[in-house]
């Protein structure tokens, strides 16, 4: 029997706002309210509010938490001071990706927060526990907690957000290092107060715009949403759905697990070598990734744009050389609301994987011209 779709605490608000609800990663989520294009452009011009309660939150704490996380993840946890976050990945011994995620070092000593993809939550949790049990770390020195049921999250993204966000939250103590949300720099995280409850706000996002991601207990998520909408009115804030979230991240060439990243792809192939620190010591997947870095990989993830009028490129469409030979596969593709053109990302054979290379995309049996471009595809003027 199929599991019923899960609903976030914001479900009723999405429906009331005209949300078109669709299944995503086992959740009933709004793909759009008015139009994907309008919501996308609203985020680029003013601000948009995204329900990201479906994502997972893990807390890892203890005297060996840092060492364990450095063993589990590809990026170097030593780089993080309390209040810092980093993008990182979890890999298998083969170098294949288990998930991409954000890791935050919280102010409380030896406490870390991991934000993981909704579609990978259960797999990530099992993977992490399994890695811990197989490691030499003492169970008493590393405590893992899955807080995904207790915590929800909201992303607020757009150029105007920083100008009004401070009206929504207050500091926890009068002498905390980052006293207001607008003081958060990119990738920083700090604790704030909302209606006498502690929440976290990170200077992060998945859209390429300035903005924040708020992590809070599920019971106060609806009140936070309402407050952001009302205080953000001055900055033209509006709810935005998963459809716009996808077009925004595709314009920025941010990977999406299940598309650019799978257990059959490595961070090196995906072009994410910057987030793999081979010098930090051993970690899961290190030797495979070191070999790939040294010997090179057969295929690379590239960004492309259609160069003539065509239907939008879509995941799994074939990429062809000018001679019509198959040289790769599209992993993400859409019609870009900012550029009014088909864009996407694809894995292509290394010899073709350079900006300026002309290619073709096979759409319903016919081939349409495209060009590999530098990432990101969208840049502010």
């Amino acid at each position: 029997m199929e599991q019923p779709l899960k609903k976030t605490s914001l479900y009723d608000r999405h429906v009331a706002h005209g949300g078109k609800m669709v299944p995503f990663g086992g959740w009933d989520m709004p793909v759009q309210y008015s139009s994907i294009k309008d919501e996308h452009l609203a985020v680029r011009k003013h601000g948009g509010l995204f329900d990201i309660c479906h994502m997972g939150e893990f807390k890892v704490s203890g005297s060996s938490a840092k060492a364990f996380l450095n063993h589990l993840l590809t990026n170097n946890v030593e780089k993080l001071q309390p209040g810092d976050g980093q993008y990182t990945l979890m890999c298998q011994a083969s170098g294949g990706v288990v998930d991409d995620l954000y890791l935050y070092c919280l102010e409380e000593p030896d406490v870390y927060l991991l934000i993981v993809n909704a579609s990978r939550l259960e797999d990530d949790w099992q993977w992490m526990l399994d890695a811990l049990s197989k490691s030499t770390f003492q169970p008493s020195d590393v405590t893992c907690e899955n807080l995904s049921d207790q915590l929800g999250a909201i992303a607020v993204q757009g150029p105007k957000v920083r100008s009004w966000i401070d009206t929504c939250f207050s500091s926890v103590t009068s002498d905390q290092a980052i006293a207001s949300v607008s003081q958060l720099k990119k990738n920083q995280i700090a604790a704030f107060q909302f209606e006498n409850q502690q929440i976290w706000v990170g200077g992060t996002g998945y859209t390429g715009e300035d903005g924040f991601e708020i992590v809070a207990p599920n019971e106060i998520i609806p009140a936070i949403w309402d407050t952001l909408l009302s205080k953000g009115h001055v900055g033209c804030i509006q709810p935005a759905g998963l459809g716009a979230r996808d077009t925004l991240r595709t314009e920025m060439c941010y990977p999406l697990y299940g598309h650019e990243l799978t257990t059959e792809t490595s961070p090196i192939e995906a072009g994410l070598g910057f987030f793999v620190d081979l010098e930090k010591g051993d970690f899961l997947g290190r030797s495979a990734l070191a070999a790939q870095k040294e010997q090179g990989v057969a295929r690379r993830c590239v960004a492309f744009q259609m160069t003539g009028r065509s239907a939008p490129p879509r995941p799994e469409y074939a990429v062809l050389s000018d001679e019509g030979e198959p040289i790769g596969t599209v992993t993400s593709g859409t019609s870009s609301p900012s550029l009014n053109n088909g864009i996407g990302m694809a894995y292509v054979n290394k010899p073709f994987a350079k900006p300026g290379q002309s290619i073709a995309i096979e759409i319903r049996g016919r081939s349409f011209p495209a060009e590999i471009v530098k990432k990101p595809i969208y840049r502010k003027a």
């Binding site: 994907i36 459809g243 077009t247 009028r309 879509r314 609301p337 319903r364």
Partner: protein, 128 residues
Amino acid sequence: MSSQIPDTLKYAKTHEWVKVDGDTATMGITDHAQAELTELVFVELPAVGRKLQAGEACAVVESVKTASDIYSPVTGEVIEVNESLADEPGAVNTDPYNEGWFFKVRMSDTAALNDLLSAADYKALIGE
């Protein structure tokens, strides 16, 4: 929200409309269909001269998120297509029964018209 369903047209169960004028049939997709599909970014039409059977997949519409097949409600030969949809696919959303027309067919077998629904029957089909 109720959609527009002009009385003068006939409808296929797959949400295409047909305007019959002698042996020429003009077709497009209904207001209900365009609302379900959301804003179109691309419309792929059959080539002029193509012979179609009623029920055959003959066109594709693409929204930001998905591609959907459109089925010919009639049997015959495509004699004209709406070229303006290449530049303005959104016309299908804003004016599905006029500016958003897809193509015209010279019908070779009008029997297929009997399988189409009246406006009242289509209204019942979509539960309005």
